[in-house]
């Protein structure tokens, strides 16, 4: 499937499903609009509902190159856009015995391209999906820079000038909501909240991702996970990622494995495990 064929909501949904990502209608609509309008799409949701996975599935589906920028505390221009290769610059200076002028020193061959610059400069014949992951981990200054980047798709490198995108990338941002993003950034983006899937959809997801899992195991795991999610007082609820690993674990262990033994796949907080065991939440699954 190519980008041009992503012309309807149904097509977007089919494209993602082709890569084992079963999107609900709302998500398919959001992706469809992000592609046809060329606006960035901000995905929020609990951990493990498959925010990052959307970008991977979309890029494979339309044959695009996936470029990922993982945000972290203290990320700045030199991590995200470009840096100069100082070690090589110093070596070049030494080798030339001082016979180098600044123009040669700040030439392309000393430029290190980081994800955002790479997205701008990539081959225009192939679409690019740019994933800006966990944007909430970056600080406000970086958010302000992104604001500019996402409206112009251009960056200025003082020594080289302004570099503009040869072809606009499809941009997906994800946030875990550890903090509210700035309104201005949100207003540049389309928005979608990814919820936990319904049990039916989750079962379909398990089958799509792990075709070798028998229906009985899928049913069991999905039932167990939905019971855990119904407990109002767990610190950390299992995501879709955990469901898939759980199904994998049960498959690998064979018939004698119990859900209780493998509870550590789904719950990662000691108190949660104790609480679930005490109440017998998983009894009879």
């Amino acid at each position: 499937m190519t980008l041009a064929e992503l012309e309807s909501v149904g097509a977007a949904s089919d494209a993602l499903a082709g890569q084992g990502y079963l999107a609900d209608r709302q998500l398919a609509m959001a992706v469809h609009l992000a592609v046809v309008l060329g606006q960035p799409l901000l995905l929020e949701g609990e951990a493990g509902v498959g925010k990052t996975e959307v970008a991977r599935a979309l890029s494979v589906a339309i044959g695009a190159k996936l470029i990922r920028l993982q945000c972290h505390e203290g990320i700045d221009l030199h991590h995200a856009v470009y840096d100069w290769d100082y070690a090589r610059q110093l070596l070049a200076l030494r080798a030339a015995e001082g016979g180098v002028d600044e123009g040669q020193l700040f030439a392309r061959r000393f430029l290190l391209r980081r994800p955002l610059l790479e997205a701008l400069e990539s081959d225009p014949s192939q679409p690019v999906v740019l994933l800006i992951d966990e944007i909430d981990r970056a600080d406000d200054e970086f958010e302000a820079f992104l604001l500019e980047f996402l409206s112009d798709f251009a960056v200025t490198i003082p020594e080289l000038g302004t570099i503009t995108a040869r072809r606009r990338p499809i941009v997906l941002l994800t946030s875990n909501r550890t903090r509210e993003l700035h309104d201005a950034l949100k207003r540049r983006c389309l928005y979608h909240w990814i919820d936990y899937p319904t049990p039916e959809r989750e079962r379909a997801i398990v089958h799509a991702r792990l075709p070798e899992v028998p229906e009985a195991v899928a049913l069991r795991v999905v039932e167990a996970v939905s019971r855990l999610r119904d407990q109002g007082d767990l610190y950390k609820l299992p995501g879709v990622g955990e469901t898939i690993v759980w199904a994998q674990a049960l498959l690998a262990l064979g018939d004698e494995a119990t859900l209780d033994e493998t509870l550590g796949v789904a719950l990662k907080v000691h108190e949660d495990v104790l609480r679930v065991r005490e109440r017998g939440v998983l009894d009879g699954v």
Binding site: G38, G74, A87
Partner: protein
């Protein structure tokens, strides 16, 4: 994005306008930019299918989780089955008690001098503030509350910091070499890196989480403590504010904004359990679960409560232990602790004290000053 807008049916644009005005009335921020995007996206979806239009507009016009529910309401009102939501939002049927607790306006006593607002203070005004420092919040008059505002705003600007992973050029020889500047400097010395340059980490504000008890027993103090919380939220970023009685309410967004009285009014409108009972354990449990990500690692949590708890002490014990493991420091401000003979005998306090790093009185400006000093040093 300069492609011309497709001609859209005249009526549709009008109804989009209606939709945005309903959304705005409910507090969702919708600008002209979003409206234009909405028109463009209607061009790309099948406008004859109601649900298609709804999903498309929802994606474009909402920008946060709370907007989604508002949108569905607004959409039904404008496009829907003729069901118009009640003109009054459900907030109006909250009682009058919470409104009575907070002053909407404090009139300064004409007999007293107005609050000093410039650097050159008269000796008389000085002593007024001085006297206020030790005075118990419960005995404040309305005029004194106004007088204390400046000082509270100043205290709120003192905040905890932490080292950032961002760096800045530094004069002193540090442990992070600044290669960029070293290369630049070496150009002066014919490519010989004679002058090495260094960078050092910067300081960032540490996340501060303020949790205020607004139950009946705290009523005399809640007004002033909420004032302090508002000042903190207004003064800088990375502050989260919560209020609780029997349940926890996030009031960060309500407290934002410079206008003091309106901020407190907005907060009073969303907190439904003013001057009611207290279930601290349940409130902390909700903080840990629903807002766990906002509290996050490395934050300083300040709990403002007298510890009179009608919930289960076991729950409070477990939840405070969890909170302390997740947060960087937990500070408890208890107005009762100001009394020299105070012993943490209330059941809630007994359960909570082992899990707090500091227990401070929280009954006067002097104690808030003490808090500010501690926040700066941790």
């Amino acid at each position: 994005m300069s492609e011309p807008l497709a001609p859209l049916a005249e009526g549709m644009v009008g109804r989009l306008g209606d939709l945005t005005s309903v959304l705005r009335a409910q507090g969702t921020r919708v600008g002209v930019g979003e409206l234009l995007t909405a028109v463009r996206c209607l061009d790309r979806v099948d406008c004859t299918v109601r649900d298609e239009v709804r999903l498309a507009l929802r994606t474009v016009l909402c920008s946060q989780h709370v907007d989604l529910e508002r949108f569905d309401l607004a959409f039904r009102a404008v496009f829907g089955d003729g069901q118009v939501p009640g003109a009054e939002p459900s907030l109006s049927d909250l009682g009058v008690i919470e409104k009575a607790v907070l002053p909407s306006l404090a009139m300064p006593d004409p007999a007293r001098p107005a609050a000093p607002d410039d650097a050159e203070m008269l000796p008389a005004a000085w002593s007024d503030v001085e006297l206020l420092l030790e005075k118990d919040f419960a005995r404040y008059t309305e005029a004194e509350m106004v007088l204390a505002r400046d000082l509270i705003a100043r205290l709120a600007r003192r905040h905890p910091t932490r080292l950032s992973r961002r760096t800045r050029p530094s004069r002193r020889r540090g442990h992070i070499p600044d290669l960029r500047q070293t290369v630049h400097a070496s150009l002066r010395t014919a490519g010989e890196p004679l002058h090495r340059r260094w960078r050092s980490p910067t300081q960032r504000p540490r996340q501060l989480v303020l949790v205020c008890d607004v139950s009946g027993s705290m009523a005399p103090y809640a007004r002033m403590l909420l004032q302090y919380m508002h000042a903190c939220v207004a003064a800088r970023r990375r502050v989260e504010a919560f209020a609780f009685g029997t349940r926890l309410t996030r009031i960060t967004q309500e407290l934002a904004g410079r206008d003091h009285d309106r901020a407190l009014d907005r907060a009073a409108a969303v907190v439904t359990d003013f001057s009611g009972g207290t279930r601290i354990g349940a409130a902390i449990a909700e903080l840990n679960r629903v807002h766990g990500r906002r509290v996050g690692r490395g934050s300083v949590v300040v709990i403002l409560s007298d510890g009179w708890d009608r919930g289960e002490p076991e729950q409070l014990d477990v939840e405070m232990a969890r909170l302390r493991r997740a947060a960087y420091r937990v500070v408890w401000l208890n107005p009762l602790a100001a009394h020299p003979d105070y012993q943490p005998l209330a059941r809630g306090m007994q359960a909570a004290v082992p899990h707090t790093d500091r227990l401070l009185p929280g009954n006067s400006l002097a104690s808030l000053e003490q808090l500010a000093a501690i926040l700066e040093e941790i």
